[in-house]
Symmetry: C2
Subunit: 300 residues, 2 copies
C-alpha cells in the first residue's frame, strides 16, 4: 500500500470514530447548537491530529478502543478553535474549507456557544475512555487527559491565539522570536498534544513523551510556515478560503519576515529536525516520517 | 458561630483557594488574557459553587486538599459562562456585580478568548487533583472530573444557555416546561455538579450522589426564580447591574408566567423540596440547610 492510500485509510477510520463520538444524541431544546457542533465537526479537514494520536498510541503498543474517545476529543478541540477564530470579533472569516463558517450559518451568538460546547464536549468525550480503561490503564488515561488540557490552554493553543490577535489589533510588527512563540503555542501545541497523548495512553515513558513533544514543536512550526507560504502561492479554489489575507491584514508572517525562499528552506529544516528526532524513538516511525513529509509539501 | 459568620468564613476560605489556583504564573506574551482571567475570576461573587462542593466533600468524610483544585475549577467554569454571557453578541451587558464586564474592559475578542481560556483552565486545574490523589482516590477524582464536564456541557449548562438565547432571538414566548428546562440546565446543572462532585471526590455512593443531583435541581430552580424576582423588585444599586432588563428584553421569566406572588411561593416550595431531600442524607446537613435558606431570601 502506498503512503497516500494508507493515509486515506487512516482518515476514513477517523471519520468513523468521529461519527460515533461526535454525532449528538437526545437533541432536545439544544438542537440548534448540536446541529452546529456537527456542522463544524463534519465540515472536512485533514484529521491530522487524531491520526497522529492514534499512530503514537499504536507505536507504543496500545491496543483497543480506549484511544478513540481521545481521537475524537482532540478534533473537537481543534474544531472549537476554528469556530471561535472565524468569529466576526476575531478573524471574521465567512468561508473555511470551501464551506460557510459556523457563525455565517448559525449566527454569532450560536457560534460562540458552539465553540464553548465543543471544547467542553471534548473533555466529556475524553472522559469516556475511563469507562473502557483497565485499572492499570487509569493513570495513563489521566495523563493523556491532562496533556490535552495543558496543550489546549493558556500555556498552549489559546495562549498563542491571544498574542496573535493582540499583535494584529495593535498592528504590531512581530520579531521572529515573537512569531515563533505564536507558532509554537497556536499550532505546535495541539500537534504535540496529539503525539504525546497517544503515547501516554499506551503507557510510554516520560523521556519518550518529551521527545514526542519536541517532534510536535518542529512539525507544528513547519506546518505553520507552510500555511504562511500557501497564503501567498495558492489559490482560493485550492485552499477553500481567500488567499492573500495575511497581506491584506498587514500581518507579520514567516514569509514577510524571511522571504519566500528562506521560508521554504526553513520548512524543510524544521521537518528534517522532526524526522531526525523521530529516529531516536524505539518504535517503527515510517508512517510518521512520511506523514511529516506530506505536510511539508501540502498544497492546502 | 452564626450561620452568617460561618458563611463568611467559608467564602474567605474559597478566596484563598481561588487565589492559589486562579492567579496565573509565567505571564509571557499571553499576559493580557491572563490578566483578564484574573479580572473576571476575582470580580467578586458569592462563591456559592465552591462552597457547596467543599461542604459535600466534608459531609461524606473527605479530608485533605484534593478538593481544592475542584473548588477552583467549578468557579472558573461559572466565571467563563458569565464572561461569554455578557458579550455583545449575547446579553451585551456592560456591568456585573457593580464592575465593568470583561469585554467592556478588554474588548470583545479578548473576552471570547478569556472565556475559552477559563473553561480550558478549569479542566487543567481539576487535573491537578491527580497529583494529590492516593491510588484509591484516583477513581473518585475521575468521577468528579466527569461530573464537572457533563454538567457544564451541552446536556448541562451550555445546553440551557443555547435554548435561552435562541428563544430570546426568536422573541418566542416560553411555556413553563420550556422555562424550567432552561432553569434546570442553565442554573441547576452547575449547582448539581458542585454538590455531586464534592461527594464523589469523597467516595460517596451512587444513590447519595443521585440524591444530591435532585437537591441541586431544586436549589437551582429556586435560585433562578429568585433571580427573576430580584430583576423586578431590586435596585441597580443593590444588584450591581441594571434591573428590569428581562422586561425590557420582552423576556419570558418565571414572574411574567406566574406572577410575583406565585413566584415567591414557588421559591419556597422548591427550597423546601430540596431541604426535605437533604434529610435523607446520612450526614449532618445543617450548614447546607441554612445555606439553601439564605439563597431563597437573598437580596442580590
Amino acid at each position: 500500500m502506498t503512503f497516500k492510500q494508507e493515509l486515506e485509510n487512516r482518515a476514513a477510520e477517523v471519520e468513523k470514530i468521529l461519527a460515533a463520538y461526535g454525532t449528538m444524541q437526545d437533541k432536545s431544546y439544544q438542537k440548534t447548537v448540536m446541529e452546529a457542533m456537527e456542522y463544524s465537526l463534519f465540515a472536512g479537514g485533514k484529521r491530522l491530529r487524531p491520526i497522529l494520536l492514534q499512530e503514537t498510541f499504536r507505536m507504543f503498543g496500545g491496543t483497543g478502543s480506549i484511544v478513540e474517545p481521545f481521537m475524537a476529543a482532540i478534533e473537537m478541540i481543534h474544531t472549537y478553535s476554528l469556530v471561535h477564530d472565524d468569529l466576526p470579533a476575531m478573524d471574521n472569516d465567512l468561508y473555511r474549507r470551501g464551506k460557510k463558517t459556523t457563525h455565517a450559518v448559525y449566527g454569532e451568538d450560536m457560534a460562540i456557544l458552539t465553540g464553548d460546547a465543543l471544547l467542553n464536549y471534548a473533555f466529556e468525550t475524553a472522559g469516556k475512555a475511563f469507562d473502557m480503561a483497565e485499572p492499570e490503564e487509569l493513570p495513563y488515561a489521566v495523563a493523556a487527559l491532562r496533556i490535552l488540557a495543558a496543550k489546549a490552554g493558556i500555556y498552549g493553543m489559546v495562549g498563542g491565539q491571544v498574542f496573535d490577535v493582540e499583535a494584529e489589533n495593535k498592528d504590531l510588527p512581530l520579531t521572529e522570536e515573537q512569531l515563533l512563540f505564536i507558532f509554537r503555542l497556536k499550532t505546535s501545541a495541539l500537534i504535540e498534544a496529539s503525539l504525546m497523548a497517544g503515547a501516554a495512553l499506551a503507557g510510554a515513558g516520560t523521556e519518550e513523551i518529551d521527545l514526542l513533544s519536541q517532534i510536535g514543536t518542529n512539525v507544528g512550526i513547519a506546518f505553520q510556515i507552510r500555511d504562511d507560504i500557501l497564503d501567498v502561492i495558492s489559490t482560493q479554489e485550492v485552499l477553500g478560503k481567500p488567499i492573500g489575507s495575511d497581506e491584506r491584514n498587514n500581518k507579520t508572517t514567516y514569509v514577510t519576515l524571511k522571504g519566500l525562499a528562506q521560508a521554504e528552506a526553513d520548512v524543510r529544516a524544521y521537518t528534517e529536525k522532526a524526522q531526525a528526532l523521530l529516529e531516536q524513538l524505539p518504535s517503527d516511525s515510517t508512517f510518521l516520517h512520511d506523514l511529516i513529509d506530506s505536510l511539508t509539501d501540502r498544497m492546502k
